[in-house]
Symmetry: C2
Subunit: 103 residues, 2 copies
């Protein structure tokens, strides 16, 4: 189990767009169209699809995904030229537990 610095997690969550991304990734089928030969649920959603929904540039989207990843809330899988991002449900539960028990 990775470290999960609570403060980094809270910083990552302190931004509307990043919160939005996390919510979309909770139910990818509801928010994103299907992707050539990959299972949205299993593998995740690629940067272009997220950029398309977010009202921001590809650059910003990519950076926000990095922030969420460094916080441990999502992880990336590269397949060909795409990078698919997926929530780390365990980490998300872990931060809830941190608040409930330790904060």
């Amino acid at each position: 189990m990775k470290s999960l610095e609570p403060i980094e997690v809270f910083k990552a969550l302190s931004n509307e767009a990043r919160l939005q991304i996390l919510e979309w990734l909770k139910d990818p089928k509801a928010y994103f169209g299907p992707q050539e030969g990959v299972d949205l649920i299993d593998v995740g959603v690629c940067v272009s699809q997220i950029t398309a929904k977010l009202n921001m540039t590809q650059s910003t989207t990519s950076q926000y995904l990095s922030v969420l990843q460094r916080a441990g809330l999502i992880h990336a899988t590269r397949i060909g030229k795409w990078t698919y991002y997926k929530r780390d449900e365990e980490a998300i539960q872990a931060i809830a537990t941190y608040i409930r028990k330790d904060l």
Copy 2:
């Protein structure tokens, strides 16, 4: 029950000193000396005591307490010239629940 904007809560928690204050307030008897005629547990801890432990000015402490209060994580009770701050345990559990179920 108050609103509790998750993003405001996360912003409030995105600072080491404010996180520290919340942790101290979790167990006031462990971190603060007794106060003239008030029950630390019931009423809370006054700004001076918190300022004394935090390594920052009274001004900063007061502002951080405001931020935590506006986020709904603590609440204040004024008695005489002192303002006592106390955690809102319900709100803290509520944000844990938000993360666990809705994020």
